[in-house]
């Protein structure tokens, strides 16, 4: 590979990484400052370094329960999304049936509905069902955008697996469930990982629905963070510390799926 070209590429990459990291750096720095420090003057690093903001969050139940609530409904949502999407994606990738193309596009349309549209109906539906302020309510509501995406991603991965594998397994006398779990699932492991990552991501960062459907018991961290406005103005420092902590679970998840992404996937018949 010619050298100068390589350098231009690295320069571009480094420039982007700096652009990507600066706002996060700024938030991290703020989380170690005091409020006076943040608001009084411009400084690149904390003048009075403090752990107090993290201490506030990790010792106050109204703060840390937000993280637990978020993780619970995200996990439920991920599990339901993947479990229902797997057979459907298999059906779309292997069989043609009455209305399959329409059904597939219809599923995608649910990903296109603005969440704002659903606020009021969801509120009424879950109040009627007595599901308000439960983890399951948020998990179910988030299915609207995660299930279609999971089906779409898994279908892409499954279409990359040759059909002959299914046929051979059936000839060898495997039943469908046995074949699916024992042979097929390991083949699309990467797809499950990637789909789970996307479900995690979109459910973890969503605020509007999660905030509308919860009040106390299942209140997500993103909603807890909106209440830091007090008489003395915004509590920027604690907010920044909470923001830093919201990145942690996601960073762990991406660390686990990085291999699947680095190994590559093309999605669909190539």
């Amino acid at each position: 590979m010619p050298k100068p070209r390589f350098r231009a590429r690295s320069l571009f990459l480094i420039a982007y990484l700096v652009f990507a990291m600066l706002p996060i750096y700024w938030m991290t720095m703020m989380s170690f400052k005091t409020n006076e420090d943040i608001l009084s003057s411009f400084s690149l690093w904390p003048q009075h370094f403090t752990w107090a903001n993290y201490h506030t969050i990790l010792t106050d139940p109204s703060w840390y329960s937000g993280y637990i609530n978020s993780m619970i409904y995200v996990a439920i949502n991920m599990a339901i999304s993947i479990v229902v999407a797997l057979p459907a994606a298999y059906a779309f990738s292997r069989y043609s049936f009455l209305g399959d193309k329409h059904l597939f596009f219809w599923l995608l349309t649910n990903r296109m509905t603005p969440v704002a549209v659903f606020l009021l109906p969801f509120f009424q539906l879950y109040t009627t069902l007595g599901l308000m302020d439960t983890h399951i309510a948020v998990a179910l509501a988030h299915l609207v955008f995660n299930v279609p995406l999971a089906v779409w991603i898994l279908e892409g991965f499954m279409s990359g697996v040759p059909r002959e594998i299914d046929e051979t397994a059936y000839i060898d006398g495997y039943s469908f469930p046995h074949f699916f779990v024992r042979i097929f699932l390991p083949l699309i492991k990467a797809g499950v990982g990637v789909a789970a990552f996307f479900c995690f991501m979109f459910s973890w960062v969503e605020l509007l629905l999660a905030r509308t459907l919860t009040s106390v018991n299942a209140k997500p961290i993103a909603a807890v963070m909106t209440r830091t406005v007090s008489a003395s103005g915004m509590d920027w420092a604690v907010l920044a510390a909470a923001g830093v902590l919201t990145i942690v679970p996601g960073a762990i998840v991406i660390w686990f799926v990085r291999h699947y992404i680095a190994k590559g996937f093309a999605m669909g018949r190539v």
Partner: protein, 293 residues
Amino acid sequence: MKTVNQKAWWLVLPVVICVAFSAVLPLMTVVNYSVQDIISPTRHVFVGTEWFAAVLRDEELHGALWRQLGFSFAVLAVEIPLGIALALAMPASGWKASAVLVVVALSLLIPWNVVGTIWQIYGRADIGLLGYALTQLGFNYNYTGKPLDAWLTVLVMDVWHWTPLVALLAYAGLRSIPDAYYQAARIDGASKLAVFRYIQLPKMRGVLMIAVLLRFMDSFMIYTEPFVLTGGGPGNSTTFLSQYLTQKAVGQFDVGPAAAFSLIYFLIILLLCFVLYNWMLRVGSGETEAPHA
């Protein structure tokens, strides 16, 4: 050819039930509201298409729609090429690849209101790095006062936030290309550009389709980030469709018009996605057949 098998419906059924529960039921409620005037919880009057007509004539809505279209177009025009370029520049393997992947993905995993909050401080001229740097460089930058600055800040924030999604998908697409393809290209003496155009781009078609559609849908529905950052202002320069809808539905509690607006909004996204989806399917299939022709 796929086997025709009507029993496949059984496999799809769980998904249909789930989505029907969490999408069709709420959507029906919206349809129900859109044709009624709710005077009090017990008094509903059927008004037919009156709300739809009112919403379609709403000047403010037209403004929000054009701003939305301009914004979504700008988002796609910046993020898709930038994401592809980033994917091409990312290291292919080793610890560097892992580290870069994690760093690039970080911005995706921050809750949306936190994204807005970070940028709110980050852009301030007195205490934020971006605002301070721009002011020191001699720009009269002020995202809370000047409409253009506000719009650009929301755009840059979106680029920062979402380009990683395009990059991750494009990267995965690139990594799926077997080395043999590149070897063949080298033997043919193909230029970098030709390799990109005839090997990399067609192989990224599937993932790019997801990237383009997701970015289009999500930018069209953007709400939380501009809400936190600018609150739709100054004036209404960053009031996009979701913002306007929520103002109507929650702020003024005009349930009927808001529901009618919701449905029109949904139909606009549906139509645009349908066009985009079919266009990309066609462009792609032409691509794979071109070499044989």
